[in-house]
């Protein structure tokens, strides 16, 4: 661990249920983060009806990444971590010759298309990897970034002859 310890601010959204705050803080100490302060804005709700909390902590960059990852693994909604701000999430399904068209390159390309992070990938290849397969991608983007990300994915899919099934973002409350 040669990298220097830095201070980070993480903004989380919690469901208003007992034990949620503890559940959100555990991954920080478990991954070697040093908790500096917790601002629990109870009574103040986010647009999604959740409680915002702001956590200041110290960690090495490597440990900080592990903290954010384990928070997300624990199902805690991380709105902002360090300088990044991921406030919108979407799921798309790609279908076609995913393996032949280099799935990892596809994912790298999507990640490189802007402020977007691929947070989860599930692959289904019932006919084997040489046949048509499908992948469900969970993406986190910055606020208002969804349209740009979807455009980039559409372009990429067209180029690679893949089918994209995008979520209907309007209309389903």
């Amino acid at each position: 661990m040669s990298e220097a310890v830095q201070a980070y601010t993480v903004r989380l959204e919690l469901v208003d249920e007992p034990g949620e705050l503890l559940r959100a803080l555990e991954p920080i100490s478990e991954n070697g983060g040093n908790l500096l302060s917790v601002l629990h804005e109870r009574g103040n709700l986010t647009p999604r009806g959740r409680i915002p909390i702001e956590v200041d902590l110290e960690a090495t960059p490597e440990r900080f990444d592990a903290i954010v990852e384990s928070l997300r693994d624990a199902g805690v909604n991380v709105v902002q971590a360090g300088a990044e701000r991921y406030s919108e999430e979407l799921v798309v399904i790609l279908s076609g010759h995913l393996v032949e068209t280099d799935l990892s390159e596809t994912l790298t390309h999507i990640q490189g298309s802007g402020e977007v992070s691929v947070t989860d990938v599930s692959l289904s290849a019932p006919g084997g990897t040489g046949d048509v397969s499908s992948a469900r991608l969970r993406l986190a983007t910055e606020s208002g970034g969804i349209d740009g990300v979807l455009d980039a994915i559409d372009d990429l899919a067209e180029e690679k002859g893949l089918r994209v099934i995008t979520p209907l973002t309007e209309g389903e409350a």
Binding site: I93, P126, S134, P167, L168, E172
Partner: protein, 315 residues
């Protein structure tokens, strides 16, 4: 009202059958090769029996039905793309005679909206076409009641065949080819299903909605269309793992028309199953309206045609 019905398929035959129920009479009906004309009103059974036995509806030429003495022309010939013929010429001829026109055929209002409106403008007759969008569902009359400028978006499931295929694939874990063959056996899909599964039919309905909402001419060429043909079952499987499913959704919003397979919540409003359709309207002052029901079928579509005839009768 006295009706002349062009087209004696499922919809035309049902209009003939049900007209009396709605207080109207059919004085002429034509299929592609023959016509039956009777100024005192046709006997539906006699016409239907003859069609079943001989393949013709009567001894007249189809042109005689168009020339008969009627108040409303019901255009129920098959939808055609491009020049929308022969439906378009039937519409023009009825307007030239100052008769009203009710469409079940999507072609004229999806492909030649400006021409059709111009012909209506020059005529004492009026045009209604409720049956062209989602069969029995009162989509266009609801838009008319709300006022087209108060409708900010329309989206929905507008093709029963595609919806049947998608909902069976999701429910049974079957592949596309298998479910399509089953749909063809059941008569839900046609021998050539491309119009339905390629998204064309849903797109035409969206084009018609756009024409009404924005009062300018859209055609199929203005729509971005993607179908569900050969969709991999693995897509539905991955969607289901995430509490979602796939539906062929048509959208009209901000002057744009888009049809394609989309992810929707599995138990959401738009995830109707089987051949059911749904039309969702976002409105400026009345929130969101959802109307679901049967989007196709002879009697269902005929009920929309006869509702239009009833509206014309009150004018």
């Amino acid at each position: 009202m006295k009706l002349a019905v062009m087209g004696a398929g499922a919809v035309g035959a049902s209009v003939l059958d049900l007209a009396a129920e709605y207080g109207h009479e059919v004085v002429a009906i034509a299929d592609s090769s023959s016509a039956a004309v009777d100024s005192h009103g046709l006997n539906p059974e006699a016409v239907t029996d003859r069609k079943a036995e001989t393949g013709t509806v009567g001894d007249h030429d189809p042109a005689d039905a168009l020339a008969a003495d009627y108040d409303v022309l019901v255009e129920a010939t098959p939808t055609t793309l491009g020049d929308a013929e022969p439906g378009y010429s039937h519409v023009v001829e009825a307007f030239e005679r100052d008769c009203h026109v009710v469409l079940a055929n999507k072609g004229p209002v999806a492909e030649r909206y400006a021409d059709v409106r111009a012909a209506e403008e020059a005529s004492d007759g009026d045009l209604l076409f409720e049956a062209t969008v989602a069969g029995a569902i009162p989509a266009l009359s609801t838009v008319a009641d709300l006022g087209p400028t108060h409708v900010t978006a329309v989206r929905g499931v507008l093709n029963g065949t595609a919806n049947f295929v998608l909902s069976r694939m999701a429910a049974e874990g079957l592949d596309y080819e298998h479910v399509l063959a089953e749909a063809q056996d059941l008569g839900v899909a046609e021998a050539d299903p491309s119009f339905d599964v390629e998204g064309t039919d849903a797109a035409l309905k969206c084009v018609i909605l756009a024409n009404v909402l924005y009062d300018r001419e859209y055609t199929l060429a203005d729509a971005s269309v993607e179908g569900i043909a050969n969709l991999s079952g693995s897509v539905l499987e991955l969607a289901a793992e995430d509490g979602r499913t796939v539906r062929l959704i048509g959208e009209v919003q901000d002057g744009e028309i888009r049809v394609g397979p989309r992810l929707v919540p599995e138990n959401g409003t738009l995830a109707v199953t089987g051949t059911r359709n749904i039309v969702q309207l976002d409105t400026a002052f009345a929130g969101r309206l959802n109307i679901s029901g049967r989007g196709a079928g002879g009697p269902e579509t005929a009920s929309a045609v006869l509702a239009d005839v009833g509206r014309l009768a009150k004018r």
